[in-house]
């Protein structure tokens, strides 16, 4: 064993002031891009990354439209009559329910459902190394699974070829959004987004409040017609007298009530047994094991606990950093870029401070390269790794497109060192200054190497020795 002295990395000694002239001029060459712009999944972003939606959100306007129109008709025609004959609380309750429904719907649609960011090239390489692929010369190795024990029950973890990682339990890859989503429930076209860990509670409150709203409106309409017909006219006459909208109105209400109520009931069952729609449909924990009460290893075996956990549990943070900045230039890349530009966007300074710390350590390590003008070279083996640390900066727009990191390319595999993004929300600003993404981007000088890696993904994997 050689007697070596480790070179102590002293973060403090290596700091470089971001205000060196050289860096400034280089920094301003390109507009700082946010990570959502190069997000590999099929999502659409609005408001500079604050809002995330699935690619096909075609039915969301319809959902909103139906709700707004139905409520509008209710307020316009039924409320005046009912306020006069019954109580003024009718429109108040209707109004409150309507607001709640719309807020929940928007929250469900625009929240990151729990998207798992794709593996960085190094991670993917590491996973590959651990998988035994001896002797396989097929173009695509057979699906890989890993079995683990959760609460004394065997669960199979599948390897996701798009995200290049073993999916955590209960995670599923949504083909419509091209993302792995944690605790994946289903992709809801009405809501225009996947329903997963982070927005399930919003979805549930949406359908519950919608059930109440439609039942309420339906009840009011029936009351209205009844009251009218009681005033001396027959039921048929009452309907004929009222504007022709009633038939359509009633039909919409009637059908939506049954489907929404049914859905609410179904999801209440799921919540109580801590299941996801995905698991229920696939019958993952069904009565194959008839001997056990519940085959579901995630259930707490108590309805109350299950409900509390699913609906009132701690709100997990968004793992993708939507509004963080991509490192642009090589020299002092995101370091200064993010330090200077992110603070305005970071609502909470403490978040800034805390991620800043990790960033600082890394930056200093990186700056040590840049300052010396040293570009790590080396064998392909070390270069990607060296790439990671030395990059801090620039995502190299030239590398990005070529590496397929464009938002339009739904699935460009691994070598695209384009990192996922973090959520735009102020409260998620914690992740917005994410040095990881700087790490994952190659410096332009090594773009060639990256490209080489980039071309390979589909040919199985590049064994990095």
């Amino acid at each position: 064993m050689k007697n070596c002295e480790y070179q102590q990395i002293d973060p403090r000694a290596l700091s470089v002031s971001p205000s060196s002239a050289q860096n400034h001029t280089e920094k301003r060459v390109q507009r700082p891009r946010r990570k959502w712009e190069v997000f590999p999944g099929k999502n659409r972003f609005y408001c500079d990354g604050r809002i995330i939606l699935a690619r096909q959100s075609g039915v969301l306007p319809l959902t909103l439209g139906l709700i707004v129109v139905t409520c509008g008709l209710f307020f316009a025609f039924d409320c005046p009559f009912l306020v006069k004959h019954l109580t003024v609380f009718i429109p108040v309750i209707g109004g409150v329910l309507f607001v709640f429904v719309v807020l929940s719907l928007l929250r469900t649609s625009f929240t990151d459902p729990g998207i798992l960011p794709r593996a960085t090239p190094d991670e993917a390489a590491d996973v590959e190394k651990q998988i035994d692929t001896s002797g396989s010369s097929t173009y695509r190795p057979p699906p890989r699974t890993k079995e683990i024990l959760i609460n004394q029950q065997v669960v199979k973890l599948k390897y996701c070829f798009t995200c290049k990682t073993f999916r955590p339990p209960r995670t599923s890859h949504c083909s419509l959004c091209d993302n792995c989503v944690e605790r994946f429930d289903h992709h809801c076209p009405w809501v225009g987004n996947c329903v997963g860990k982070r927005n399930y509670r919003f979805f549930y409150s949406f359908i519950i409040s919608l059930s109440f709203l439609t039942s309420f409106i339906f009840g009011c309409v029936i009351t209205h017609i009844t009251l009218r017909s009681q005033a001396g006219k027959s039921l048929v006459q009452a309907i004929q007298e009222s504007p022709a909208r009633y038939p359509l109105y009633l039909v919409i209400c009637f059908f939506s009530i049954w489907s929404i109520l049914g859905l609410s009931g179904f999801h209440t069952y799921l919540v109580a047994s801590n299941l996801t729609t995905n698991e229920d449909i696939k019958g993952s924990w069904s009565s194959k094991r008839a001997a056990e009460e519940s085959g579901n290893p995630y259930s707490y075996n108590s309805i109350i606990t299950n409900c509390c956990v699913t609906l009132c549990g701690p709100m997990p943070p968004s793992l993708i950093d939507r509004r963080g900045f991509l490192p642009i230039d090589e020299a002092i890349p995101a370091a200064s870029a993010s330090e200077i530009e992110l603070p305005p966007f970071v609502a909470k300074n403490d978040a800034h401070m805390c991620t800043q710390s990790t960033k600082d350590v890394l930056e200093r390590v990186v700056h040590s390269f840049d300052y010396q003008g040293l570009c790590p070279t080396g064998t392909p083996k070390t270069s990607p790794l060296a790439l990671e640390v030395s990059s801090t900066a620039a995502p190299s727009p030239e590398t990005s497109p070529s590496a397929g990191c464009s938002r339009q390319l739904a699935r460009h595999p691994v070598a695209a060192p384009c990192p996922p993004f973090s959520s735009s929300n102020k409260r998620d600003s914690l992740h917005s200054i994410n040095p990881a993404f700087r790490l994952a981007s190659p410096s332009p000088s090594l773009s060639r190497t990256t490209l080489i890696l980039g071309d390979a993904p589909d040919i199985g994997f590049i064994p990095l020795p």
Partner: protein, 140 residues
């Protein structure tokens, strides 16, 4: 010490500590000591770091009166409360970031290692970067 006098650390490899799912979907990392770190770090120190991280994540995801209260309050305000308030989870994540920075400065950096905050890897792995041994006076 001038910067030029210091050798720049070059990355020699990275070790990934994977998640441990034996207790379910909660965030927990494996405490198994990776063989690549044997020459650099004590097993005990590594385990202690990982264990502390696991405890911190458990604290973030803890189900209890406080988190339920937060959840109910959020529901009642139609989740608008999150626009002005920080969630409990986020507070703990900051604590974790501080802890990792602290560990890096005290234990890992002097040994040529660097811990990456798992949140930057989507809470999938704890990435430990191993820097090449470039001691100035290695006597060759």
């Amino acid at each position: 010490v001038r910067l030029q006098d210091l050798q720049q650390p070059a990355v020699s490899s990275k070790v990934f500590v994977q998640r441990d799912y034996s207790s379910g979907t909660i965030c927990k990392f494996q405490t198994k000591f990776p063989s690549e770190l044997e020459s650099r770090l004590d097993k005990q120190q590594f385990e202690e770091t990982i264990q502390t991280l696991n405890n911190l994540y458990a604290e973030a995801e803890k189900l209890g009166g406080k988190s339920y209260l937060e959840g109910c309050l959020a529901c009642l305000t139609a989740y608008t409360v999150f626009l002005c308030m920080e969630t409990h989870y986020e507070k703990v994540l900051k604590k974790i970031a501080r802890y990792i920075k602290d560990q890096n400065e005290k234990i890992y950096a002097p040994r040529g290692l660097l811990l990456t905050d798992p949140i930057e890897r989507g809470l999938r792995v704890v990435e430990i970067t191993i820097f090449e041994d470039r001691s100035i006076g290695s006597g060759r």
